[in-house]
C-alpha cells in the first residue's frame, strides 16, 4: 500500500525525462530476448500467413507469386491432406483419453503410501525425457513382426498370426498410439500428482464420515477437485497430438503407405521434398487454426472454472 502511494508521488514529481529514461532502461532489459524472439519467431509467423497465399519454391532467383486462395482450394482436392487430417484427428481422439486415464490412475495409485513410491514415479516419468530415437529403436526391435520378443511371446502362447504392428495396415495406428501413451503418460501423471496433492484431506474425511467407499470418494471428491488439472492436461495433450511428427517418423514413417500420415508429416514433405512452400504454408495454417481453436476453448474454460 505504502509502495503504491510512494510510487505515485514519485511519478508526479518526476519530470518527463526520467520517465523516458525508465522506459529506455526497461527496453534495454527486454531487448536481447525480444530482438531474437521477434526476428526468429514473430517474423516467421507473419511470413507463414503471407506465404499461404503465394506460390514459391524457395529459391532466391524465382520470386514468390501471389495466387490468392489457390493453395487453400487445393487442400480439398489433395487426397493426402485429407488423409493426414483425419489420421491426425483419429490419433488425437484415441491417444488423449487413453493417456489421460492412464496418467490419472497412475497418479492416484502413486499418491498412496506405498513402498518405493519415488522409484515407481521415476521409472514412469523417465521415458518422457529419454531420447526418442533411442527409445523408438528399442520399441521397434521389441515389436519387430518376425523376430521381436513380443511376437515370439505371442506365438509361444499359441497365437499363430500375431499382428504385424508397425508394418501392418490394421495395426500401425495402434502401435503408434501405444508408443505415445507409454512415452508421455509419465509427464501427465506428474501434473495429476500435483493436482491430487492440492486436494484437502478434510474433503476425504468428510466423505468417509458420510460412509463413502473408495470408489465413491474417487468419483465425488477426487474427480470434481481435479477439474482444473484435467482441463489443462486435456488441452496440452490435444495440442501435443496435433503437432506429432517425430514419433510417426520413427515408428511407422507414415506407413504402411499413408496409413499413419499426419499433418506435420505432410507439411514437411510438401515443403522440403516438393518445395511447394506456399501450399505447405496453407497446410500449416490449418494446423495453426486447429491449435488456436483448442487454445481459445482453454481460455474460455479456465475463466469458467476460475
Amino acid at each position: 500500500m505504502t509502495d503504491e502511494i510512494s510510487v505515485k508521488r514519485a511519478k508526479t514529481v518526476t519530470p518527463k525525462i526520467r520517465r523516458r529514461r525508465n522506459n529506455l532502461i526497461a527496453y534495454s532489459f527486454i531487448a536481447p530476448n525480444f530482438i531474437g524472439f521477434a526476428v526468429f519467431t514473430l517474423v516467421p509467423i507473419v511470413m507463414a500467413v503471407v506465404l499461404s497465399f503465394m506460390k514459391w519454391n524457395g529459391s532466391g532467383v524465382q520470386p514468390p507469386r501471389f495466387v490468392g486462395l489457390d493453395n487453400y482450394a487445393h487442400l480439398f482436392r489433395d487426397r493426402r491432406f485429407v488423409e493426414a487430417f483425419f489420421n491426425t484427428i483419429i490419433y488425437t481422439a484415441v491417444t488423449v483419453p487413453v493417456t489421460m486415464i492412464f496418467a490419472l490412475l497412475l497418479a492416484v495409485i502413486l499418491n498412496q503410501k506405498i513402498f518405493a513410491r519415488n522409484f515407481f514415479r521415476t521409472i514412469t516419468f523417465f521415458p518422457y525425457v529419454a531420447s526418442l530415437v533411442a527409445v523408438a529403436a528399442v520399441w521397434n526391435a521389441l515389436f519387430s513382426p518376425e523376430k521381436g520378443p513380443v511376437n515370439e511371446m505371442l506365438r509361444a502362447l499359441g497365437i499363430a498370426n500375431p499382428p504385424g504392428w508397425a508394418v501392418d495396415p490394421n495395426w500401425a495406428m495402434v502401435t503408434l498410439i501405444m508408443f505415445s501413451v507409454w512415452k508421455n503418460m509419465g509427464y501427465y501423471m506428474v501434473m495429476y500428482l500435483a493436482g491430487l496433492q492440492g486436494i484437502s484431506p478434510d474433503l476425504y474425511e468428510a466423505a468417509s464420515l458420510d460412509g463413502a467407499n473408495s470408489f465413491q470418494k474417487f468419483r465425488y471428491v477426487t474427480i470434481p477437485q481435479l477439474e482444473a488439472t484435467n482441463f489443462l492436461v486435456l488441452v496440452m495433450l490435444t495440442i501435443q497430438c496435433f503437432k506429432v511428427y517425430d514419433i510417426v517418423l520413427m515408428i511407422t514413417n507414415a506407413g504402411p503407405g499413408t496409413k499413419t500420415l499426419v499433418l506435420v508429416f505432410h507439411i514437411y514433405n510438401v515443403a522440403f521434398k516438393q518445395w511447394d512452400l506456399g501450399y505447405a504454408g496453407a497446410i500449416s495454417m490449418v494446423l495453426f487454426l486447429m491449435v488456436m481453436i483448442v487454445t481459445v476453448l482453454q481460455f474460455r474454460g479456465e475463466k469458467k472454472t476460475a
Binding site: M47, V133, A141, A271, M285, F288, E302
Partner: protein
C-alpha cells in the same frame, strides 16, 4: 471381513505396481541386454537376459562406425550455449516485465504469451527460408542456437517467479542507489535459483532431444547432433542390432544423469506450470 477386503486391495495394488515396473523397465532392460550381444543373438527366443559372453566390444565399435563422439560434442555444445543464452535473456527480460513499469508492457507480454500457443511446426518452413535465404545460416549450428535461445516460455516462467519476489526488496535497493542492472544481477538472479534450475532442465532436455530442428538445418554429417546421428546410424546399419542398442544406451546416459540428479526440479517445474500461479 473389512481386514480381508483391505488385504485384497493391497495385493491388487502391488500386482499393478509390478505390472507397471515391468512395462516401464523391460524395454530398457532388453536394450542393455541386447547391447552386449552379437547381432545374431539379439533376437534369440526365449530371451537370454544376461548374455553368457557379454560383448563389450560393441561399446568400443560404435565410436568408430559413426562419428558418435562428434555428435555428442555437437549436441553438448548446442545444449550448453542455448541453455545459457535462454537463462540470461529470459531472466533479463522477465525482470523488466515483473518489476519495472514501461510503455507497452502489457501488450508486449500478451504478445509473448500468445506465441507460446502457436505450434513451431506451423512456421518452421518460412523460418527455414528466412534462415537460408536471408541469413545464409542453413547447415550451421548458429541457426539452431538462434531458433532455440529466445523463447517466450522462458520469459513467462521467470516472470511468474519474479512476480512473487516482494517489491520492497527492489525498492530498498533503489533507495540505496543501485542501478536496475545491479539489482538484477546482485539480487534477482541469486534469488531465482529454483526457477533457473527448472528452466535449465527443461531447456537442456528439449535441446538435447531436439530432432526436427537439426533434421531440417544440419545436412553435413560432421555437424549433426546425436539424435539425427543415431537415426542416420540406424537407417544405414539397420541389421547391426547390437551396435544400435549400444549406441542408444550411450545416447540415453547424459539425460538419465541430469534427470536423476535434478529430478526434484523437473517435478516442481511441471507441477507449478500446471497450477498456473
Amino acid at each position: 471381513m473389512r481386514k480381508r477386503k483391505i488385504r485384497f486391495g493391497r495385493i491388487l495394488l502391488y500386482l499393478v505396481l509390478i505390472l507397471l515396473a515391468l512395462t516401464m523397465l523391460l524395454p530398457f532392460a532388453w536394450m542393455i541386454s541386447a547391447s552386449l550381444k552379437l547381432n545374431k543373438d539379439v533376437f534369440t527366443f526365449p530371451i537370454e537376459w544376461i548374455p553368457k559372453k557379454p560383448r563389450w566390444q560393441n561399446y568400443l565399435d560404435i565410436w568408430t562406425v559413426i562419428p558418435l563422439g562428434r555428435f555428442i560434442l555437437n549436441t553438448a555444445k548446442l545444449t550448453i550455449i542455448v541453455t545459457l543464452l535462454q537463462l540470461l535473456t529470459s531472466s533479463f527480460a522477465a525482470y523488466a516485465f515483473a518489476k519495472l513499469d514501461f510503455k507497452g508492457k502489457d501488450a508486449l507480454f500478451l504478445g509473448y504469451i500468445g506465441t507460446i500457443a502457436v505450434p513451431w511446426q506451423a512456421y518452421m518452413v518460412p523460418q527455414f527460408i528466412m534462415m537460408r535465404n536471408v541469413f545464409h545460416l542453413n547447415d550451421t549450428h548458429l541457426a539452431i542456437i538462434c531458433l532455440q535461445a529466445f523463447s517466450a516460455f522462458g520469459v513467462f516462467l521467470m516472470k511468474q517467479f519474479y512476480s512473487g519476489v516482494p517489491d520492497e526488496l527492489c525498492e530498498a535497493a533503489r533507495i540505496d542507489g543501485m542501478s536496475e542492472y545491479q539489482i538484477w544481477w546482485d539480487i534477482m538472479l541469486p534469488l531465482s535459483r529454483p526457477a533457473l534450475s527448472t528452466l535449465t532442465i527443461f531447456t537442456f532436455v528439449a535441446t538435447w532431444n531436439d530432432f526436427l530442428g537439426p533434421l531440417i538445418y544440419l545436412t553435413t554429417t560432421e555437424k549433426k547432433t546425436i539424435q539425427i546421428g543415431l537415426r542416420m546410424f540406424i537407417s544405414q546399419y539397420s541389421t547391426e542390432y547390437g551396435l544400435i542398442m549400444a549406441a542408444s544406451v550411450v545416447v540415453l546416459i547424459p539425460v538419465l544423469a541430469v534427470f536423476l540428479s535434478l529430478q526434484k526440479y523437473f517435478v516442481q517445474g511441471i507441477a507449478t506450470s500446471g497450477l498456473k500461479g
